[in-house]
Subunit: 180 residues, 2 copies
Amino acid sequence: MNYCSCCAATVTLRVPEGDTVPRYVCNQCGTIHYINPKMVVGALAEWQGKILLCKRAIEPRLGMWTLPAGFMEMAETTAEAALRETLEEACATIELAELYTLVNVPHIGQVHMFYRAHLPAPVFAAGIESLEVALFDEADIPWDDIAFRSIAVTLRQYFADRAKGEFKFRTYDLGPRAQF
Amino acid sequence: MNYCSCCAATVTLRVPEGDTVPRYVCNQCGTIHYINPKMVVGALAEWQGKILLCKRAIEPRLGMWTLPAGFMEMAETTAEAALRETLEEACATIELAELYTLVNVPHIGQVHMFYRAHLPAPVFAAGIESLEVALFDEADIPWDDIAFRSIAVTLRQYFADRAKGEFKFRTYDLGPRAQF
């Protein structure tokens, strides 16, 4: 951020009075521009025991597999975001169950959430952000080509819970990826 | 938003190519300025059966009672946000239990989350955003003066669950408040 989005004057990164965190503050109109974490919401949809995954057609992680998910928009609920993203990325209409995982990714200012869901029929196609969409048995999950760790964490929890016959909401915190 | 925060040129609200939602797009450098929902995170802390509430010293809902909560910051987890807000607003150091409620408030672009927590000793004070901080028995909760519906929903769930002896994570969606 270089300029104030209200008045176009320059901004300075400083701690406002009564605050504890540096913010971009306008040098002319005084507007404080807050930057907060974003939510990424998606769905783990199952059809006859198989899981719906999308191969990413966009960066980051182009060519790797993900659960359908994306940035939550204004004026929608977390459930609506999960349904919309699944429709956009996998052209699939799913039936949502409960919120299943919440994964903090603080070093990139994101919180990822995934719902469990039921795909009522094997009807899907690659949306504009996907190269390919497919159903995977647990044994065929491409673990080495999963796009994001929050996806892998959610899938692993799912298969462990499914084996026990009981699904339980859980939260996770991820640190930065090891560089080597 | 009137001006681009990157280059200070004017912006136009339009649907970018390949998108479905109107965004503020810079007329000069082309930057797309996304606006996404924000998270408000707090804690429901109990000491010897009593609940820690804060009387708000700031708008909105100045003078009304709330659970300690506030906007999640970059580079922190949801749990860290709940601990920080409780320390800031109630000067209390709590021990967090699990995430307990997630409340969508789509008409204002917010998602509220509350953790259950234990206050290890009745040590607290009004932080700069609170007029007063106090512990309430269930029978003394000021239901008519609760600042936000997400707080009331969370407290009601808590007392119902406590009576049953089992706490369960739940999600809620709130619509606009009735105007009359």
